[in-house]
Every structure is written in C-alpha cells, then in structure tokens.
C-alpha cells in the first residue's frame, strides 16, 4: 500500500551530456532562417542557445530525411512513416502513404511548393512517392522506373513549363520532365548513384552532378541527357555520399572517408578542402555558412566556403535509450548506433567503451551484474569489467535483445523467444524454460524489491502484431500469461509497484484491478510513455516525450516541473529512496543526463 503523499516537489539538475555528435543525414532552414537537422535520433531544430529535439506531437523516433520550405516541414525515415508540419514544427500530422512502403530515403519539394503542393519521396524498395496536396497523401509514381531503390532526389531550382526532377537510383539516374509524374532513364545505368546536385543556374548551364558508390562524380552539361565522368575526385575510391552546388556555383563533394572536395570548374578539376572525422553524410549551404554532417561526430560548420571547419559543440543528437545505474559503479548509457558511454563523475564527463576487439559497442540493452556492465548487442553479449571487456560465452539461439537483473541473477531474452539466466558472475548462462513464441523484447525483474521473486517478460510476434506479457512468481520456473495486446506500438514500458504490474503501451497505462484491466491515459495529447519508474511505497513516475508525471494511485496523474523535458526524457532509474526523498537519474533523447530529486511530504 502506498503511503500518503501530500506534496511532491522536484528539483531537476542537469549534470552533463554526452560529447557533441550524432548522425546528421539532412539539413535545411525554414522561412525564419531557423535550422533543421534530420538525424538518426529524431528531428532537431536550433533555437537561440542550442539544438533541441522536436518532441511535442512528433510521432517518430528517427527522422533522417527532411525537407523544409517556408513553414512546411516534411520528415521521413526508416520506419515507413512520413510526417508533416504546416506550422514550423508546432503540430504534426502523419501522412497517408501506401501500406507496403518500408523506408523513406529522400525527400524533395517543388520549387513552387506553396502554390502547387507537389512533393516527392524516394523509398528504399518501392520507387518514388508523389504528393500533390502538400504532403497529406502520397501515391506511388513509378512510371518508367526500372529500378526501385531510390537513394536521392533533386529538383531544378525553379520550374518553368517543364518541371525537371532527377532521381538517383541503385542503377542509374532517372529524369522526370513533369514533376515526377513519369520517369525516363537518364544514364549511368551501371552505377549505384548515391547523390545528385542540380546547378542553381540549371536553366542556363544545364549542369547536373551525380556521385556514385564507386567514388566517381559524373557531370551532365545538357540537363541530364548525357554524362561525362569527371577526373577522379580522390585516389581512393571512397563513395561520394553528397554533392552540393554552392551559391557561387562551386561544386562540393563529400566522401565516405570524411573528405570534402571542391571544384570551381564543374568537375574538371578537384581540390581537397578538408578531412572531417566521419563520413560526410550531408552538405548544405545556409546563409553563406557551409554545414556538414560527419558520421556520428555530428555537425561541422565552415564560415569561409570550406577552408576551415569547426564542430558545433551544441549539437548533441545521440540516439541513446538505455541508462544503467549501480550505486557503486559509473553511470552507463547506450544506444543502438551510439555506443556505450561511461561516466565516473556522475555524468559530467564521458568516455566511450569498446568491445574486446576494439570496436564500438552498440547495445540494444544494458544491465549491471555486480561490478560488470553487460551490453546486449544482438549476436553478442559483451561484459565490460573494470579492466577489460569480454564476449560472453553462450550459444545464444538468436539475437539477444533484452537484459535485466533480478534477485535470481541476470536474465537475457533473445529474438527467437528463448530466455537465458546467469545466476552469478562466476556461473555460465543457462537456457531456461521460456513461454514466449515471439522475440523477448523486454524483461523486468524484481531487483528493486529483492525480497520478491516476481518477473515479467514481454514478447512480440512481429507477424501477428501482438504483444504477450508473461508473469512468473517463482523466478522463472512457471509462467502465467498476464495479458495479450494487439498493437504495433514500439514503446512498451512496465513497472512493478505494490505487488502489481503496470504496463505502459503508447499513451495508455494498463492497470490490473479486481474488475479486470483498466486503461488509464495519463495526458490528453496521446504522447507515448517513454519511461515508467516505480517508487516503491510511493507511486509511479511516467515520462512522455516532453512531460513528466507523478501518481500515487495510478489513477490521477499530475505534471512535474522539469526543464529536461524539452530534450525528451527516454529513461529514468531510481538511485535511492527514503521516507522523504527519492533520488532519480534520467537520460534525455539527445544524450543529456540529469538528477531528479523528488522531495516527498
């Protein structure tokens, strides 16, 4: 039974953040000159002081491709979701796209988008989508395409009676004379074309540039009718990831090895400008400043047309999602594409951890086991000890995607539905009886309440879009099906409080009562719950993308003031709890760590 809590006061303190960085795949500015960045960690915009993730109402986790024109922003990504905002990111709507689309790889807007509402989206496997209503609805427009893997799209700077669009495909360049209604092969059929750039003076000089995976740049001087391969950009055959015509007509090329080249004579000769510490994934010129996304190292700026570059220290777009806390050990955070980072000083400074073979560790889940940190990285589980790292020795049935600590040891769940347990650090992993038919996506143990032996595993059968929640009251010897939910929602969070499990699915918290399951919505804006934390004997804390809530009875929820909500809270962990105070450490979507002191009275 929770005790009576008359008042909850919160003191939120930002401790620090991971080093500047993040994968930037597209950059743009809106009518007010505000910068937007599409990253693997979501959509970011620059305010007066820093880069902020777009959270409120933004129905996506990643947004690597964006297109911005005036007040309109379109964003798409790998999970086949395309969203639009007509008010500079204040509100977002999901666009209607055909159900078979798997991933959006590129976006392009008509030069007169405000008038004609024409937008195009390249997809990974299904060709090109076209919208004529400002991005609200999309249809496939593949007439003439012979290949359907689209890498990039580029439109002519303004459209006359002809409305030229170029598409870079896995096999060649295609040209549409009519705003994407129909396509014609435009050459380079044997090349995997990764990027395109159309000259700002296209109608006069007819210049179009195409960069290939083989490291060559091809130039067309007659509006895409024929192509000539340029003199090799560099001796190494690094892929040309992006091309940009600057306003002074200089052509700039970014390679997979971090090199930036320029050509002042439309590709006849090239000069190496700079080498940045990551693959150049995007280049943009905004208000005379050149911006470059350099691999996972974030954003770089050049105020002098590429002669000198400096990293934007305010840009932190790390796609981290897991926080592992152990009172006697460093803070650990990790993300699928961002590595594992450790902080000895409570989150002020960070060092990246590496696997036994020196590679970055990209964990799906983290868990402490005594003094060692375990990182589940799909096919491997890596143990990070104080002195060295090891691969865990076990014959995992499938990719390990979940980890949890319980009073009976550490548990691991695999994609094939198998469950593994390690009773103590010196014992081997044991495959245990598993009730799951689908991937074990989460395991919740009772480590916080060591006297209890309850456990919960969540499994998802992808083909059935069904979640199963299995409960064990005897540390995994017997399992009971607690709940089945039909949902495809990716965010599933659970917490154990007062001998009950609480299941957060999207914006709903399911609570088991005597009358069955109750569905409780904690806020009116349908924002999914990204973190659910039990304060034993006190209540629950829930974080949505941009708000923090507390409830002592799980029925009524009240908002808690916390400035870190503007960066999007993705994980909360309880550090300590006494009669008057709870100490919580939190992680935001862009890699900031903060302390939350909750004073109870």
């Amino acid at each position: 039974m929770n005790r009576e809590v008359a008042e909850v006061r919160v003191v939120c303190t930002r401790t620090g953040s991971l080093p500047a960085g993040g994968v930037v795949l597209s950059l743009a500015s809106d009518e007010a000159g505000r910068l937007w960045a599409g990253t693997g960690a979501g959509l970011f915009h620059q305010d007066e002081f820093a880069w902020r993730p777009v959270l409120r109402g933004f129905p996506r986790r990643d947004a690597p491709v964006i297109a911005v024109r005036h007040r309109m922003i379109l964003a798409g990504g790998y999970d086949a979701v395309l969203v639009r905002s007509a008010d500079r990111g204040r509100t977002w709507q999901r666009c209607a796209i055909p159900p078979q689309i798997t991933a959006i790889t590129s976006l392009a807007l008509s030069p007169s988008f405000v008038q004609d509402g024409v937008a195009l989206a390249g997809t990974e496997t299904h060709g090109i989508l076209r919208s004529v209503d400002g991005g609200r609805s999309w249809k496939l427009a593949n007439f003439g395409l012979r290949n359907f893997q689209v890498n990039a799209l580029a439109v002519a700077p303004h459209w006359q009676r002809k409305e030229p669009v170029f598409a870079a495909l896995e096999q060649g360049v295609y040209y549409s004379p009519n705003a994407g209604r129909a396509w014609q092969p435009a050459g380079l059929v044997d090349e995997a074309v990764l990027c395109l750039a159309v000259s700002p003076n296209y109608w006069q000089d007819g210049l179009v540039a195409a960069g290939t995976a083989e490291g060559s740049v091809h130039i067309s001087r007659n509006q895409g009718r024929s192509w000539a391969v340029c003199k090799p950009v560099s001796d190494e055959e690094h892929p040309i990831n992006c091309l940009l015509f600057l306003s002074n007509h200089t052509l700039m090329a970014g390679t997979g090895a971090g090199e930036i080249f320029t050509s002042v004579d439309a590709g006849v000769s090239w000069a190496l400008l700079a080498v940045l510490p990551g693959a150049i994934l995007t280049l943009a010129e905004i208000d005379g400043i050149i911006l470059a996304g350099a691999g996972a190292r974030g954003l770089f700026r050049s105020p002098d047309l590429g002669s000198t570059w400096e990293q934007d220290d305010t840009f932190v777009a790390r796609q981290v999602h897991s926080l592992a806390v152990n009172s006697e050990q460093p803070l650990a955070v990790g993300g699928m594409r961002e590595g594992v980072w450790l902080s000895e000083d409570g989150g002020i400074s960070w060092q990246e951890a590496h696997s036994p073979d020196g590679e970055a560790i990209n964990p799906l889940a983290l868990s402490w086991e005594g003094q060692d940190l375990l990182a589940a990285c799909g096919p491997e589980v890596i143990r990070l000890g104080a002195k060295r790292a090891n691969f865990e020795d076990a014959s995992w049935g499938g990719e390990v995607i979940s980890l949890a600590q319980s009073s009976s040891g550490v548990w691991a769940g695999a994609a094939d539905g198998s469950l593994w347990r390690k009773p103590s650090p010196d014992k081997a992993w044991i495959r245990t009886h598993s009730p799951c038919r689908g991937a074990v996506i989460a395991i919740y143990g009772s480590a916080a309440t060591a006297l209890e032996s309850t456990m919960l595993v969540v499994s998802r059968a992808e083909s059935e879009a069904r979640l199963e929640f299995w409960r064990s009251e005897d540390l995994g010897d017997h399992w009971e099906l607690l709940r089945v939910e039909s949902t495809t929602h990716p965010a599933v969070r659970c917490a154990y409080l007062d001998r009950r499990w609480y299941l957060a699915l999207g914006s709903i918290i399911l609570v088991q009562s005597q009358d069955g399951w109750q569905r409780i919505r904690i806020s009116g804006d349908d924002a999914p719950v990204l973190s659910l934390l039990a304060l034993p004997g006190v209540g629950l804390i829930a974080a949505t993308a941009d708000r923090l809530f507390f409830s002592s009875d799980v029925i009524t929820w009240s908002g808690l003031p916390c400035e870190m909500t503007q960066d999007g809270i993705v994980d909360l962990k309880l550090v300590s709890l006494d009669d008057h105070r709870a100490q919580v450490v939190g992680l935001t979507s862009n890699g900031c760590v903060f302390q939350l002191a909750i004073v109870l009275s």
Binding site: A96, P98, P99, Q100, H126, L140, A141, N142, F143, G144, R161, P177, N178, R181, A182, Q184, S463
Partner: protein, 540 residues
C-alpha cells in the same frame, strides 16, 4: 408522282461547284495558326457554339438551302470528315486543296479538255507529289516536334505541350485515354503497366478502404475465363497460393459469386493469404483479348470454364506473377508482369501489324492502340478540365485530333509545315509537264492544275493572316532550303524545326490523296438528279 429534277453538264458541275466552294470557303477560314472562329447557333440551344476545326464545322452543315448546291456541299463535307477520321487533322488542308484542284481542273475541262484525261493527270500528279513528300519527310526529333504538331492541330498551347510531353515519354506505341476532369485545367497521369476495366468483387478485399482500393506487391496471378461460383473451383487455387511467398494473389475472372466469393473473402480476412479478386468488365471478343493480354504480361495460363471447371488442376507454372497490382471498383492495374519478354515483344509486333492492316476502322484501331499501349506498358490518362462544359467538350475533341496527328507523326515522320511541303512538290510536277513525260495534253493539263493548286494552302495561310504579296513570299520559300517555312505569326521566314512549324507526313499525304480523289469525282459529274419533296396538302 413528283418528277426529280435532272441537271446536265455543264450546268451540273457549275452548280455542284457552288456548294463545293461555299463549304470550302467556310472551312478555309479555320486554316493556320491565325485561324478565325465560326459561331454556330443551334435553335435549340441558348448560346452559340464556337467552332474552330473544319471537321466539326462541316458536320454542323446539313444543307445550304438549295438542293443543287447541297450535292457539292455534301461531297466537301464527306471529304473533310473522312480526312479527320483517318488522321485527326488535315480537314481544312484537304478542303482548300480540293477546292483549288476542282477549280483549276474545271477551268481546263470547260475549255474543252476531256474530264477523264484531266482526272488521270490529277492522279498521276498526286502520285508524284506524294513521292516527293515521302522523300522530304524526317523522323520526329524530340518532344518539341510533337508539341509543334499538336499545336498546329489544336491551336492550344497548353494542350499541345501536354500531348508533346506524353508522347515524348510514351513513344509511338503509347495509348492515351481522355477523361473529363473536375478541375478547370489539364492534368495527365501515367499508368505504370497495363490497365483493364475491372471491379473488385467485394469491398472486404480492399486494403485501403478509405480510398476504395486494394494493392498487393509481388503477387501470383490466376486467370479464369468464366464464372466462378463453387468452393471446389477456387479452393485448390487458394491452397496453392497460401504457400507462396509472399502469399499474395490476384484472381481475375469474368464473374465471381456465391460460395466461391464467400470462400475468397473469408480466406482473405482470416488467413495470411491476401487476395485481390476482380471481375473483368468486358465480355465476348474484347474480354478474350483482355485475358490474352493479361496472360502474356504476367505469364499466367488462362483457365476456362470450358476445359478446366475452375482451378481444380492448378499447379506450379500455371500462375503468373506481377510486381504490383492495384484494383478498385473501376480498374485493375498490373505493373511489372513476369511474362516472357520475347513473347510480349512478339505480341506487340502482331498488334502493330493489325493496327496497320486495320486502316480506317476507327473503333478497332483504338482498341488495338489501347492493347498495344498496355502491352508496351506505355499508357497515359489525359484529364481534360475547363471552366465550362462546352469548353471541356471542345478541348476533348481537339485532344483526340492532336493524339491522332502525333501518332501519325511518330509512325511516318514530319514535314515542314505551313503549306511549304506542298510547294516543294511543284517543281516535280512541272518536270512532268515538260513534254518528255509521255502524257497526253489533257493529262498534262491535269498535272498542271494540280501543280497550281498545291500553292493554295500556302496562299490561304497568308490570306488568313492578312499578309499581302503572297507571291513574293511564296517565291522566297520555294527558293529556300527544304526546311524553310514562313512563320505567319512573326511574319518572317524560318527553319521549320526551330520554329515548331511542322506537319505530320501522313496528315498531308492523306489530305492530298483525299482532295485529289474528291475533286476528280466532282469533276467527272455529268448529271445531277435531285429528288424533290412531295408537296404536302392540308386540304381534306
């Protein structure tokens, strides 16, 4: 009994010519880019109709008020309409030529030449002129040529641009479907693959109910030429298709109903097999053609009610496949069919041969063109929108003409426009009249009459543009290279391709052939017999 009026030569020809000329003069004012507009007031309609093309104009004229003139008018009417039906354009050109030929040849005949020999001379001259046109024609260079052709036919820049673009993309085998559009502008849509008139057999099969459509990727294709009603007829197919990866099935039949439909819907809703089941709208020979095309494009075998009694004997290799199918309540669209490419090419070749052999049979020709388009995967929908229904209707007519003219140009090439191609034929005809050609004097007179008449379209163009001294300009064009034309808009000599002043070879050739044939027939008229209407008596 009322006696018919009998009018004999030369009065018969003179009267016939009056009607011939009257309609030709009417039509001639629509010739060229500076064409005039003719208003037609139907007593049953409140607003006059705007007539801009020769063929529609002559269709509105059913009588000139005097029966002896009507004979000539109806001959001209028929002549103009025939040209328009065959090639979509050239009605006015043909009328101007026919009028001039008749005029020149009649003058010779009235002076004592034998009409039959003059007719022979006209035909010999026409053969030589056609040969010259043939030698001058050039293939279409790019879509700006196509746009020029369409502009010369429709006189509408926007429509011409769109038609030029469509055929630039689709090529000669392209098929264009004209549809009315609610918005007040023109739009075009390109159909990826082939499209058939067909309807989904149940709304439960729609996977996008808000759009009333279903779409499946990488699906198996089963064809059944007949009605499916029993469970046993479809169950083996569904059992087979559910094992495919991915389990997607397009089932096309003439009709699907009763237990077979129930099983299909239940399977679609309850199992992993996703089905798009459609019934084809067209039946009989057209329906059979639809099935044949689907089979060729997708590689499917056609099961039939006659031989197979459903899909009882279905096995691997009987089903075709397609990269994507989409179906709604009106159409089935199949893209990326896995049919044998060589077979498809062969089928396209056969259809092309049939198009050529069909000649003037318009409905068959359009059907073949449509099938050709979908076999080649080159089909577009031109959506005609306008502010008023009358405007929309006029645009639809023009679009149809433009399409025919462009197809003619793509198949047979183009010539310098503005009447200049006919001027290039005159020197050849003059050689014929030199005396060493072996023609009789009257035949030579016929050739000479044709040579003079070939100037008529050019002169009329200048007259319509109110440009004087046509003789001087005519001489300048004749002395220029074969590509020289006179641009009546900018009033200067130009090169045909850059100026976009082009005509389709086939349009000019058919206009000339028809004009010579019409004028020769009129010339040979000896007697007119006019049947009189009986006077109606109201007396008891």
């Amino acid at each position: 009994m009322h006696k018919p009026a009998v009018i004999t030569y030369p009065e018969s020809v003179v009267r016939l010519k009056k009607g011939f000329d009257q309609l030709a003069d009417l039509v001639a004012c629509t010739y060229g880019p500076t064409r005039g507009v003719v208003l037609y007031q139907d007593t049953l309609k409140p607003q006059p109709e705007v007539l801009t093309d020769a063929a529609t104009m002559v269709r509105r004229v059913t009588s000139l008020g005097e029966s002896s003139m009507d004979v000539g008018a109806m001959m001209m009417r028929n002549l103009v309409w025939r040209v328009r039906e065959r090639v979509g354009d050239g009605g006015a050109t043909s009328a101007i030529l026919a009028q001039a030929i008749f005029d020149q040849a009649l003058r010779v005949c009235l002076a004592g030449a034998h009409a039959v020999e003059v007719q022979q001379g006209l035909r010999i001259g026409a053969e030589h002129a056609l040969r010259t046109l043939q030698s001058l024609k050039q293939p279409v260079k790019d879509e700006s040529d196509l746009e020029a052709i369409a502009r010369s036919v429709t006189g509408d820049d926007e429509l011409a641009f769109m038609l030029g673009e469509i055929f630039g993309i689709l090529g000669a085998s392209g098929h264009v479907l004209i549809e009315e559009y609610a918005a007040p502008y023109l739009e075009r849509e390109y159909v990826d693959g082939g499209r058939w008139r067909a309807a989904l057999v149940s709304p439960h099969l729609m996977n996008s109910p808000e759009a009333h459509t279903t779409g499946l990727d990488h699906c198996q294709v089963a064809l059944y030429e007949g009605n499916l009603t029993e469970i046993e007829e479809v169950a083996p197919l569904l059992e087979f298709a559910i094992r495919c990866d991915p389990p997607h099935l397009l089932l096309v039949a003439q009709k699907i109903s009763e237990d077979a439909l129930n099983l299909i819907v239940t399977t679609h809703l309850k199992s992993k097999l996703k089905i798009a089941a459609v019934s084809l709208e067209r039946v009989g020979e057209l329906g059979a053609g639809d099935f044949e095309d689907l089979a060729a494009l997708t590689g499917a075998r056609i099961f039939s009610a006659k031989f197979d009694r459903g899909f009882r004997s279905v096995r691997a290799g009987n089903l075709g496949s397609a990269r994507r199918v989409e179906a709604d309540l009106q159409y089935l669209q199949v893209s990326g069919g896995a049919g044998d490419l060589i077979e498809i090419q062969e089928r396209i070749r056969q259809l092309q041969q049939r198009v050529v052999s069909l000649g003037g049979n318009q409905s068959d020709l359009e059907e073949m063109q449509m099938r050709l388009g979908r076999m080649a995967g080159s089909m577009a929908v031109l959506k005609i929108g306008a502010h008023t229904a009358a405007e929309r209707s006029a645009l639809k007519t023009k679009a149809g003409q433009g399409i025919k003219a462009i197809q003619a140009a793509l198949q047979d090439g183009v010539l310098a426009g503005g009447g200049s191609a006919f001027l290039r034929c005159i020197p050849e005809l003059k050689k014929l009249t030199s005396g060493s050609s072996g023609l009789t004097a009257d035949q030579t007179a016929g050739v000479r009459a044709l040579a003079i008449s070939l100037e008529a379209p050019f002169r009329r163009l200048l007259a319509n543009a109110h440009i004087p001294s046509s003789g001087l300009i005519l001489a300048q064009v004749q002395q220029g290279n074969p590509d020289t034309v006179f641009d009546v808009i900018h009033k200067k000599l130009s090169a045909a391709h850059p100026a976009g002043i082009l005509d389709a070879y086939r349009v000019l050739a058919i206009a000339l052939e028809t004009a010579v044939s019409g004028a020769a027939m009129a010339l040979g008229t000896e007697v007119l017999i006019l049947k009189r209407k009986p006077r109606v008596s109201y007396e008891p």
